[in-house]
Symmetry: C2
Subunit: 191 residues, 2 copies
DNA sequence: GTAAACATGTAACAAGTTACATGATTGT
DNA sequence: ACAATCATGTAACTTGTTACATGTTTAC
């Protein structure tokens, strides 16, 4: 249900073609939502049929540009202020943690260390992105920076948590089973 | 694709019925994965057909218990150690942030404050859960506590971030042109 | 007896992915 | 001329949700 609203949100910045919107999902939105062109193109037509968009002239190479309508803006606003966000997300990485006990401790540690490395790599990707993007003073870019900051914070705690968890397993095991006492994870981050 | 493996992971702890597995998704796993009984029952039959599970005797009220097989355990292990986790998740709350610039600053602040409140409430739910659960010294409970800590840390930074972001908007209102530029003309995108 | 919880299932639909398929324009 | 990129689309399939449908056991 969110795809429609993600598209409305992107089109609120300005008219765009399905191709451009697909790129936006791959680039700026990749971390929070994803959609393939095969889903986007039919969706745009449905949204136009609902009156949320209008299709402009066909450009070169068959390019079709969509423009958000007032109804579309109203629907975006309604979604943002009235519809309660669906907070129960799926997180495969976190799901796996529940089942790490079925592995040998060394394998579980290896898994967590890969997770920590992935989180660190993600922090670096976001940091590079922040430096790369020519942020302007628009509201969209202002919010983009806030969102980037959120992603950065979460990736940082994930890395710290994974390292801490690996250490818990390393120090809290006997020969073959994962049993042991609990320690608090790091609670302070520094930026 | 992860549903099969989530079910394998739960059944690795011991035999269970579809009904019990449904409850496990609602309770302990709700935060990281979800599945309804209408998806679970057919899935269990497919998994049994693949040889990952065997269906035991029918109990009272038509209860059907499934037991994981060695093939099932091998598949769970293969998934954990060999299959690269899908890290690109969907996060509706974070998606919305990208579009907050379309709202009035006061509405955006209200949204973020609701997010902060939700994150705080979630921290409390997890803390209560931690106190409530009769953790034993099993590997599954050891990992359950690690996973809970991860959820707690992430919820805490989300709350902190949302409060910080709300403050950014409140104080940056005049400086950052969040107002007045909401309907800026289409500019070049694509980087 | 009756409500709640236990217990399983199917059908219709919506959302999302992968694979197939085509053609135009730009840069080298 | 060739490759890369732009640009759109459809078909088949998988995954996930909502709604419908049914019967049993336990506790009050």
């Amino acid at each position: 249900m969110s795809l429609k609203h993600a598209l409305l949100g992107l089109l609120a910045e300005g008219p765009a073609s399905g191709y451009e919107l697909t790129k936006r999902f791959e680039l700026s939105l990749a971390n929070v939502w994803s959609a393939k062109h095969s889903q986007i193109y039919p969706e745009l037509r449905k949204m136009a049929a609902e009156g949320w968009l209008v299709a402009g002239e066909e450009g070169s190479r068959g390019r079709k540009e969509y423009v958000i309508t007032d109804d579309g803006r109203a629907e975006l606003r309604r979604w943002l202020v009235e519809v309660r966000p669906e907070r129960a997300g799926r997180n495969e990485s976190m799901l796996r943690v529940f089942f790490l006990w079925t592995l040998d401790p060394a394998e579980a540690v290896a898994y967590l260390e890969r997770e920590a490395a992935a989180a660190h790599a993600y922090v670096e990707r976001l940091t590079a992105l922040d430096a790369l993007v020519a942020w302007d003073e628009s509201g969209a870019d202002f919010m983009g920076r806030l969102a980037l900051e959120e992603g950065l914070l979460i990736a940082q705690v994930q890395a710290e948590w994974a390292e801490w968890a690996a250490e818990q397993i390393r120090s809290g095991r006997d020969a073959t089973t994962l049993t042991g006492r609990r320690r608090r994870p790091p609670t302070k981050r520094q930026r």
